[in-house]
Symmetry: C2
Subunit: 259 residues, 2 copies
Amino acid sequence: MRHTPGMCQLLGLNANTPTDLVFSFTGFAHRAQEHKDGFGIGFFEGAGARLFVDPVSARQSPVAEMIRRYPIHSRHIIAHIRKATQGRVALENTHPFMRELWGRYWVFAHNGNLVDFAPKLHAAFRPVGDTDSERAFCWLMQELSKNHASLPSVEHLTQTLAELAAGPARHGTFNFLLSNGEALWAHCSTHLHYVERGHPFPTAQLQDADVTVDFAAHTTPTDRVAVVVTQPLTCNESWQALGPGELAVFVDGRRRLPP
Amino acid sequence: MRHTPGMCQLLGLNANTPTDLVFSFTGFAHRAQEHKDGFGIGFFEGAGARLFVDPVSARQSPVAEMIRRYPIHSRHIIAHIRKATQGRVALENTHPFMRELWGRYWVFAHNGNLVDFAPKLHAAFRPVGDTDSERAFCWLMQELSKNHASLPSVEHLTQTLAELAAGPARHGTFNFLLSNGEALWAHCSTHLHYVERGHPFPTAQLQDADVTVDFAAHTTPTDRVAVVVTQPLTCNESWQALGPGELAVFVDGRRRLPP
């Protein structure tokens, strides 16, 4: 499915078991001009996190080439393809962004544009680059750290994040994905869709114009995976659209609804 | 030159112009058992930083394969090859480590072993893994943030770091490299050597048992590069040994001595 021209693309994955994914960038090779401003993928391995980012077109990027061949096993993945709106095209402006809080890494990617969002950043999180996105991420981390003395439960985090996300969302489009290696949060302003999958996974590949994701051929009956993307990737599954202002949280490959 | 068995290897580079380096891991291929506990390379591009880490032997690592082919252009590089002393072999325990402070990324790698170093970490920097090294890094970041309200000059940072480094060093071996993309700091407890180079660079490759670094064939008369390593890498240059407790700072490819 074609993405909306001029927008960034988000792709998130949450699973109950380390899932073997292979990303490929075939779309990039044909349309590198359109998303020439970089791409990034962050994934967790336990508490550890890897971030592969490149501010160049995937056509020339050895990083994209490596990701294409790397057998990623992860329960939490956030990917982003960038079309610059604010901030120069530079490594420090390439999503996802990462910070540490309460002894966990946090990975964040944003789709949208925030206008005149200039909150007071008085605590331990400062942007390195000059995007609205990293500024909003630093503000979220700051406010989380003020709301909780140590890592709260997923439920409490979700409540706090839902309240906080409304702030930047008043300044524009604030679709984002966030993970700490324990859960995946997805906040929607305009476009975010998700699907929950179980064994056996569809044989169809996930495919949008830019990124192809192959699920492993071998899954077990208990495997669960949730996928969150800007636009639905397949026609034969029941994708759920998130509504404006909605924050969803995914744990162990399922959306967890408020009690 | 052979490294000391059982030790980690550090390699740092500081240059006055983005320097084209190619790392190769030929040594790994022959002796992957010896340094099987992972490797990592962090490098700055302007204010942005990339971290490539892999907790597996470079023999099987697609990341090592990519780094081998990636034309790295950077003024600040820190590399580390790990032989685990404390902490499990896991992604979150693989050097270098990275944090953000004052809107800059900080990259840190440690060689040595700290015994009973358990400082109070009450501020915004907490270890994600369970190594003495990441604990010491978090403590350094915490104390820097307490000593300065915003990014100080390189001179002031160097003074503060020299005072701080003495703390962990009382608990064992504390050879480390640290960079914020502006300068490279090297603290020695036991083994650290450096050399300063100018145009034309020696044709000899930098080579130790594990990592080969090829300098670009094309340098200009104003290029300056400083290289800091655990053990001298060449026989035909005047490597300087740092003394126990000595902290050196490199800016624009030269060691900067106290005024």
